[in-house]
Amino acid sequence: MKAKAMRFLKLLGNRLLGILRAIAGFIMKLWRHPKGRVGLIVVTLLVVCAIFAPLIAPYDPYDVTQRAAKGLSPSWSHLLGTTITTGQDIFSMLIYGTRVSLIVGLVTGISIAFLGAIMGVIAGYVGGAADTAIMRTVDVMLVIPTLPLTIVLTNLFGKSYLMIIFIFVLFGWTGLARVIRSLVLVLKNANYVRAAELAGASRGHIMFRHILPGVSHLLIMNTALTCAGVMIAEAGLSFLGLGDPTAISWGKMLAEAQGGGALLFGHWWWIIAPGIGIFLAVFSFMRIGLVMEEILNPRMKQSSSIYKIFKNLNNTYMEEVFASMDENAKLGLTLKAGEES
């Protein structure tokens, strides 16, 4: 029994190592793709901003003593000016806002990937009653309006980002689970899985060696796209004032700008700044997700790139190709035009 447990642990360790290696491989692939590289660079920048926010931001937006005159326009001391209501430095707020967006986005994205994968694999691989139960749950989840329910739950249990993450995860896994389930159904019936079953493979073996690696690519891609989607949703909730009231987030900055008269006084930078923050974060994650889709789905890549190849065709080279296929050219009898008999 102990040996079996050891073997299982070893297997699990190997799998985890394999997953890490796969992720590293992906990052390399992304880096090699021009669009993916842009996404990677921006995400890295955002992560740096989030971690080293106190070092990068010129002021601490939480510190009441550092607040300047209210409603300053952008200048060298206040890159993006200050807020009309409290006199906080907008640039510093922007830097600090990265934290909420990234944390909510990443934590939710990864949790959804886990939950969605587990549910999808169970529904697809185990099937039967488990499948029915999960798919019925998905159907119910799909008709409940998410935003209103989030508002109700924050009203009941208080406003916090933990709550928001919880609700996002609770509702976010359904779509992923569906996709994973249908992929698992395909993989499960693949002949190589049947061959492994014939050789006496256990369910664990099939799961870890065939099914999970088969869906892992989809998972990684989906995580990136979910992160992007969650960041937008988080900004919306914060905008409605449903986020943690003490934290600085881009959505809340927008709400403050709207409520604080940025529109009225023409302080456009106060609106644009958090908007650009949201845009950059979402855009870079989405880019990564889309590039991954392109890498994973070679057919799609081919169809889009074939036109580029076509545009850049070297005409003289193509003429040579055509000429090389002529009957005479292959014979080595190079005839000049007009010399044919």
Binding site: D139, L240, L263, V282
Partner: protein
């Protein structure tokens, strides 16, 4: 086959409704010790006994004085008589009445938005697919990644800032008298259109590009199918191939996403309504949230869910009309 399929879908939709209804009843009761306390928070100038009396009065008034199970039965029987509950707000209006007042205003926004998005999206999507690989297509692709990363409420803020405050072409806030004064005269309709312009535009930018990209992908996927080659080998003209063979098949995935849009028609405009101060379901819900008006909140939630269920059902049946294969192998 067709009829039994219909019956099966309806039974299933009803089953989903029962679950949602039950959840809807229990969600506000999780973690809340006494609903009356929520409704009527303790106030400093009140003695304990006075507060207790008021709470008891509240309980009786809103039917919290019986057991949870009895409350559930009352709730269900009320529902099937079309009663979504009674709001906490003064005058105790019926939830259904409040919804009835606000719903048309939300639909003005969201239905117009959906129609615009779908119509323009279909056109530019088809063009992009047609001009595949050329600038029309690449522009759409780039726009779609950009627009997906721009939240609609940010676009709304920019629009309201520029066209509302700077240029003053359109109202940045809805005229609160608009609703009360609406009398179906041309002038009133013009006022509504004028006020609705900015919200609708800010919502439909993303919608147009989303539907455009979706259409483009669907059309291209169908173009690669063998039967398009057959149609061309029959000598059909380009237009015949596109309109008779390609678009009809490309509509299938679009109908699916259309169904999702329809089920979100009511709840999808909360933030936009809030920005433009538009008196629709979204603002009604936020008002209810601010006053802890649970019956109203849950009533709206249930209404939205039921709407989504019906929308899904209709989409599914519509899909089965478009695709004759559905009744054989069920679409999932």
């Amino acid at each position: 086959m067709k009829k039994s399929y219909l019956i099966k879908r309806i039974i299933y939709a009803f089953f989903i409704f029962l679950i949602v209804m039950t959840l809807n009843f229990f969600i506000p009761r999780i973690g809340v010790v006494d609903p009356a306390e929520r409704y009527y928070p303790p106030q400093g100038n009140m003695t304990e006994i006075e507060y207790e009396i008021i709470k008891q009065f509240t309980r009786e008034q809103y039917g919290f004085d019986v057991s949870n199970f009895q409350q559930y039965l009352n709730y269900v029987s009320g529902l099937f008589q079309g009663d979504l509950g009674t709001s906490f707000r003064s005058g105790n209006p019926k939830v259904s009445q409040l919804i009835g007042e606000r719903l048309p205003w939300t639909l003005v926004l969201s239905v117009t938005n959906l129609l615009i998005s779908l119509f323009i999206g279909l056109i530019i999507g088809t063009i992009a697919a047609w001009k595949r690989g050329r600038w029309q297509d690449t522009t759409l692709l780039n726009l779609s990644t950009i627009s997906m990363a721009l939240p609609a409420f940010f676009i709304a803020l920019i629009l309201s800032f520029y066209f509302g405050f700077e240029l003053e072409w359109f109202p940045a806030y809805t005229n609160p008298n608009m609703v009360a004064q609406f009398d179906w005269s041309w002038e009133a309709i013009r006022v509504v259109m004028y006020n609705a312009a900015l919200p609708i535009v800010s919502m439909s930018i993303g919608g147009i590009i989303g539907y455009g990209q979706g259409t483009r992908n669907a059309v291209i996927a169908v173009t690669n199918e063998d039967f398009i080659l057959t149609a061309r080998a029959k000598g059909l003209s380009r237009n015949q191939v596109i309109f008779k063979h390609t678009l009809r098949n490309a509509m299938l995935p679009i109908v699916t996403s259309l169904g999702m849009s329809i089920s979100g028609l009511i709840g999808g405009a909360v933030i936009i309504e809030q920005i433009f101060n538009w008196n629709g379901m979204g603002t009604l819900f936020l008002e209810a949230n601010n006053t802890n008006d649970y019956p109203l909140m849950m009533g709206i939630m249930l209404f939205m869910s039921a709407f989504a269920i019906v929308a899904n059902l209709v989409t599914e049946l519509f899909y089965s009309l478009l695709d004759p294969r559905v009744t054989v192998g069920e679409r999932r």
